[in-house]
Amino acid sequence: MLGNKRAEGVFIVAVFVNILAYYISFVAVHAKRSDIYFLYLHVPPAWVCYMAFTISLVSSIMFLVKHKRSYDVIAENAAIIGLLFGAIALLIGSIWAKLAWGSFWNWDPRETATLILWLVYMGYVVLKLSIENAEKRATIGAVYNIFAFSTVPLSYLSVEFGFSQHQSASEVLPQMSEVVKSALIFDLFAVTLLFIALMLLIWEVKSLEERADMLSIAVSGGVRDDI
């Protein structure tokens, strides 16, 4: 299918584990409170979003320290996946908000801070697309990424502001039964596996892009100015 056996294997396992996690979470809450099912749709993408941006930050710091191109590629790939899961968390969160608070968007501190986080990381991707010189792109991107990460704790801690309607993890966890908690932990594991599979697939895309660029230079006999 892909040619890359490792990415292919992880992707297939991730799909099966996610289907299983979906079923387990459905069984865990179906007989009791169906609205808790939103927990399984909203928390895992939010978890991947924060994790991806943290990996992106670490990779950017590593790039600035070691100047290895692969760290820059990991930072960019993780940020792209973080944006995807951030968008999912925001959209599902707004559907849940309509049900729980009566409106899709309430300018709650958590909603607003997460929207700011998403826009700031969208800025990171746009910035990387707009600079042609590879060395400059990687360095400016890494510095921007370090500043962009400040929005992650802002979003995570925004529920601690007194006027937020959003519950914090410390409030929700004690209310959960063992079954609901176990299903949620399995969901987090499943979505982390999906994140790894997506990282491997994007890595494959970047490697192929690089190979195609090298070949086109070799064929045209030109010189690249962006290396």
Binding site: L41, H42, L84, I88, I92, I95, L99, L201, E204, E209
Partner: protein, 58 residues
């Protein structure tokens, strides 16, 4: 609102949220697979051109 109506609207909301979740992930996967296949085609074409160039030089 009756309990049945409540449950029905809840089911619609859960269904909408599930659709959002999986459609966005599937669209992203579709983009990735299409990009991989188009890049592979481009690489094969470039490799063929590169091989032609080398045989002409010889």
């Amino acid at each position: 609102m009756t309990f049945e109506n409540d449950l029905r609207s809840l089911s619609i909301f859960i269904f909408a949220a599930s659709v959002v979740y999986w459609v966005l992930i599937l669209l992203f996967l579709l983009w990735l697979f299409r990009r991989i296949s188009s890049l592979r085609e481009r690489i094969s074409a470039l490799e063929a051109m590169s091989a032609d160039d080398s045989s002409e030089r010889l």
